[in-house]
Amino acid sequence: MAPLRRLVVDVLKPHEPPTLTFTQQIAETESVAGVNATLIELDKEVQNVKFTIEGESIDYDVIEEIIEDAGGTIHSVDQVVCGEYIVEDSPTPQD
């Protein structure tokens, strides 16, 4: 199966653990080379964070397990990049 090189997920999480700890936990996973966490929405009890995860061969199940163990849920998988190298989204005339 083609290796997963980039994954963008929309996560709903409680305020605790804080985004910093949450992101570090994902980044410490063996298959992950780097993570970007961007706050999308802040509510009284929860927050919506977009995680952009990159690596040579990301293990999705491990990522999902870490997010769920930290109390978060993956709302949607917004971008998936697989293959030999990272292919960026190309603009089309309709855009």
Binding site: P14, P17, K44, E45, V46, D69, A70, G71
Partner: protein, 195 residues
């Protein structure tokens, strides 16, 4: 910055940085109860004419067991209820079950810390003032042991005050004196109590 110059390094090593403000409040509040109970017990025991220091220690330890158990048990139940309420609020917002997640484990750990600190406070506050009675009959008379015990309790209260001042940027000696004064007030009231 080197570890030697970091003022928090000792607290970090002792794990004191992990103790939250609620655990601190329980510790000081229940420790205050313990120290003042200690003053009341020792002065009262002396005035009622206990035969020796060992009898005062036995009475004091009985009080310490009661206060420590009360501290641990009540806070365990209070924190358990609070933890469940907080978890339910988050679960309602998340629309998911959070049992056996990191958030539940952390809240349980906080519950344990708070209950332990709540029990340690009165144990520390009550047992320490009883130590002079160990030397009654060898180095001290019963009156001297009682006076020294009140002084130790006032000292414990002073330390509680100074500690709270150190985290709230107040003058430590003023806060210490304010807390210590309570011990002297209880001793005076105990002396003038009818009977």
């Amino acid at each position: 910055m080197g570890a030697e110059s970091d003022p928090n390094s000792l607290l970090d090593r002792l794990g004191m940085d992990k103790i939250g403000p609620i655990a601190r409040r329980y510790f000081v509040s229940n420790g205050f109860d313990g120290a003042l109970t200690g003053v009341g017990v020792t002065v009262g025991a002396y005035l009622t004419g206990v035969p020796d220091g060992f009898a005062v220690i036995k009475i004091g330890l009985g009080g310490a067991v009661g206060l420590t158990t009360s501290g641990v048990w009540s806070v365990w139940e209070i924190e358990r209820a609070e933890m469940r309420a907080e978890l339910h609020d988050i679960e309602d917002a998340m629309l998911t079950d959070l049992s056996e997640t990191q958030i539940e484990r952390e809240k349980t750990s906080t519950q344990v810390t708070n209950a332990l600190m709540s029990g340690l406070g009165p144990l520390f506050g009550l047992v320490l003032p009883l130590t002079p009675f160990l030397f009654e009959d060898t180095a001290l008379s019963l009156l001297q042991a009682t006076i020294l015990s009140v002084a130790v309790a006032v000292g414990v209260l002073f330390v509680f005050g100074a500690y709270m001042a150190s985290i709230s940027r107040q003058r430590w000696y003023i806060a210490g004196i304010r807390m210590g004064l309570a011990g002297i007030v209880v001793a005076i009231i105990s002396i003038f109590l009818p009977g």
